[in-house]
Symmetry: C3
Subunit: 263 residues, 3 copies
C-alpha cells in the first residue's frame, strides 16, 4: 500500500516559517505522510481564489488523499472548522466557503466539526490553527485515525458556501464574468464550455471582440483569444502576452459570449 498523501493549500506564502511548521507537525504525527504543496500563494484572506485553485488541483489526486486548506481570515474566532469526506477525498479546512467549488464537483458525504482537542497541539495559538489544529487533524486522518473521532456530526447542508456568479443564457448568447486571473494574465470566466463547443463564435469583453478558438497559437502573437480552459470554463488569453495587462483589468469584468458570429 502506498503511503498517505497530504496536500497543502494556504495563503501563508513561502517566505515565512508557517508552512514549514505545519509540515513539521504533520511529519511528527504521521511519519509516512507524503506532503504535496498545491499552493501557498493565495492572496491573504482571498477565500474565492483559494476555492478556485483547490478546484483546479485537488480532484486530480489519488483516492484517499487528505487535503488541508487554510485561507482563514477568521482564525481564532467562533467560525467553525470541519473535516469533509467526499466519495474519494477528505478535506480539512475552516468552514468559510473555501471548499465551495470542490464540493460542487464532488458532494460531501460525511462532515464533522473539528472539536476534539485531544487531537490538537497542546498549546493552540489563537492565530495559527494551521499548525496547531488543522495539521494535527490531517495527520490523524492520514495515519488511519477515525473520521468520527474528530468531532460531532454536521449536516452537509449547513456548510458555508461562497456565492458563485451564475451565468445567464439567452438563446445563443451567454453572459458571465471573470472569476479568476492566473499568473499568465489569463481571465477565467464562470461560463462552462462543453467539449463540443470548441472554437465557435466570439466573446465581447472590455469593449473588445475576441474570437473563440482552440489554443493560443490560433491567433497571431499579441492578439487576444477566447478558448476552453483546462477547468472547462471559457477563458480569455493573449498569445505570447498577458490578457489582464492588455485589458487593464481582471476579476469582475463582464463577458458576453456569442456562440455564432453575428448573433
Amino acid at each position: 500500500m502506498s503511503p498517505p498523501i497530504v496536500t497543502l493549500l494556504t495563503d501563508f506564502g513561502l517566505s515565512d516559517g508557517y508552512v514549514g511548521a505545519m509540515k513539521g507537525v504533520l511529519l511528527r504525527r504521521c511519519p509516512d505522510a507524503r506532503l504535496v504543496d498545491l499552493t501557498h500563494e493565495i492572496s491573504p484572506g482571498a477565500i474565492d481564489a483559494g476555492a478556485y485553485v483547490l478546484r483546479q488541483s485537488a480532484p486530480w489526486f489519488p483516492h484517499g488523499t487528505v487535503h488541508v486548506a487554510v485561507v482563514d481570515p477568521g482564525v481564532g474566532s467562533s467560525r467553525r472548522a470541519v473535516v469533509v469526506a467526499t466519495e474519494h477525498h477528505r478535506y480539512v479546512a475552516p468552514d468559510n466557503g473555501l471548499l465551495t467549488l470542490v464540493l460542487e464537483e464532488a458532494p460531501p458525504v460525511r462532515v464533522r466539526s473539528i472539536e476534539n482537542r485531544e487531537l490538537w497541539e497542546r498549546d493552540v495559538s489563537a492565530v495559527f490553527h494551521g499548525r496547531d489544529l488543522f495539521a494535527p487533524v490531517a495527520a490523524h486522518l492520514a495515519s488511519g485515525g477515525e473520521f468520527e473521532a474528530v468531532g460531532t456530526e454536521v449536516s452537509p447542508g449547513t456548510l458555508v458556501r461562497r456565492p458563485w456568479p451564475v451565468p445567464r443564457e439567452e438563446g445563443p448568447v451567454r453572459r458571465g464574468c471573470v472569476v479568476y486571473v492566473d499568473r499568465f494574465g489569463n481571465l477565467v470566466t464562470n461560463l462552462p464550455v462543453a467539449a463540443s463547443e470548441l472554437a465557435t463564435g466570439s466573446v465581447e469583453v472590455a469593449g473588445q471582440v475576441v474570437p473563440v478558438v482552440r489554443t493560443y497559437s490560433d491567433v497571431s502573437p499579441g492578439e487576444l483569444l477566447a478558448y476552453r480552459g483546462s477547468t472547462e470554463l471559457l477563458e480569455v488569453g493573449c498569445n505570447e502576452g498577458n490578457a489582464a495587462a492588455r485589458l487593464g483589468s481582471g476579476a469582475g469584468l463582464v463577458v458576453t459570449w456569442r456562440l455564432r458570429s453575428g448573433s
Copy 2:
C-alpha cells in the same frame, strides 16, 4: 523505521536552479532522504530573518531531522562552516549566526567544523557551498554517517551568535522593538508573552495605541491589534489588513507594551 528527513532553508529563491541542484546532490548521496523546504525566500544575505524563520519552523520537526540552512554572504571566505547537534536535531550551516535562535530554544550539545573534504563534491565551487559542501554533509548525516567524521570538534561557546535586542521591563511597562515582518504585514516584536498574559493592556507603536487582544477578529476590519503570536512573542497586526503598510514601516520600530490600561 521512517526514512530520514532533511529540511532546507536558504536565500536562493525559487526561480534559479540552485535549490534543485542541492536536492539532486542530496538524493544522489542519500536516496531515502525526504526533502522538505522550510523556505528559500529569505532576502539575499538576511541572516537575522533566516534565524527567525528557522526558529519558527525547525523545532516542530521529528527528532532526528537534519536541517540544512544556507544564508551565506561570506561563502568561499574564511568563515567557518559547522554541524551542530542539539538534543533532538542536527543543523548544517555556515557559522555566521544563522543558528542563533534555534540554539537558544535548544542548546548545542556537539559541534564539529566542516573540514573533511572527502565528504564533499570533488570540485567545490567557491560561490556555491550549498551544493558542493552543505548538501553532501547533510546527506552524510541523514544516511547515518558519523557526526565526528565531518571535522574537528568545536566548543559550542565559540559559535557566532547574532545580537538579539533585549527587551526592557519597568514595572508594568515593557519596551522592545520589531524584529521581523511577515508576509501578512504582521510585526513580530522581541517581547515574549506568557500564555497567562493574553489580552491585557495596550501597545504603543509608531504613535498609535493598539489594544492587546486574543485574535484578529477581536477588533473591527481595518483596525490594528496586538496579540500573542505563534512564536510566543507579541505581534502587531491589522484585522483583514496589513499592519506594516498601515504604519509605513516595520523592522526596528520601537514598541511599548503597557500591561494595564492607563499605566
Copy 3:
C-alpha cells in the same frame, strides 16, 4: 531499490493550481514517484531561461531520474513533444529547444515523439499538456513503462536547438555576453572558465572594469567582481549587492574578459 524520482520545471508559477494538478496526475499514475520541484518560476514562455535553469540542476540528480520540463508557448499547436533519453537521465518536454543545454552536457541517446494517446489523460485540454500529456508520459516512464511505447522514433539530430551565443577568443581576450541573470542579480555569461583560470585578469562590462577573483568577499562590500560561477561560466556579481541593479541591465550585455591585466 529506491522509488523513482520525477523532477518538474515549468513556467506555471506557484500561485495557481497548475502544478498541483500535474502532481496529482503523476501520483495517481505512479504512486511511488518522488516529486521534486526544480522551479516553476521561469518567466512565462522564456525557453532560454528554462534551458539554463534545467542545465543548472537536472544533471545533479541520480541516474534514472525522469525530468518533466514544460515551458511551452506553442502548447496545442503542431509543435512536437518528445521523450529524450541520455546516458543517465530521461526528459519529457515540448520539442522547442528547452532541452538545448542539458543535451550539450549529455547527448541524446534515444528520442521518441509523444504520440501514443493511450498513455494520456482521456480528455486532453488544448492549453494544458503539462497535466494531460507530459505528466502521464512521465508517470509511464517513472513506473517502468517502455520508452518505445511513447511514440515513433525520432532522429536526435532533428531536435530543435536554441542558438547559444558563441564566445570569441582573440589571444588573451575573450568576448561574450550575459545569458542569464539570477535572483541575486549575478550576471551569468557564455564564457567558460577552466578551474585553472581562477582569479586572473579583468572583465569589462557596461563601461566598468571588474577584477576576476575567486569569491564575493575578495572585494569590498558594494564592489563588482567577476568569478567562476557554479556552472563553470564566468559571472559578474557584486559583494553584498546586486550587479544587475548596479549596471542597470542584464541579459545581452557585452562582456570582454582580458585574461592578463593590461592585455
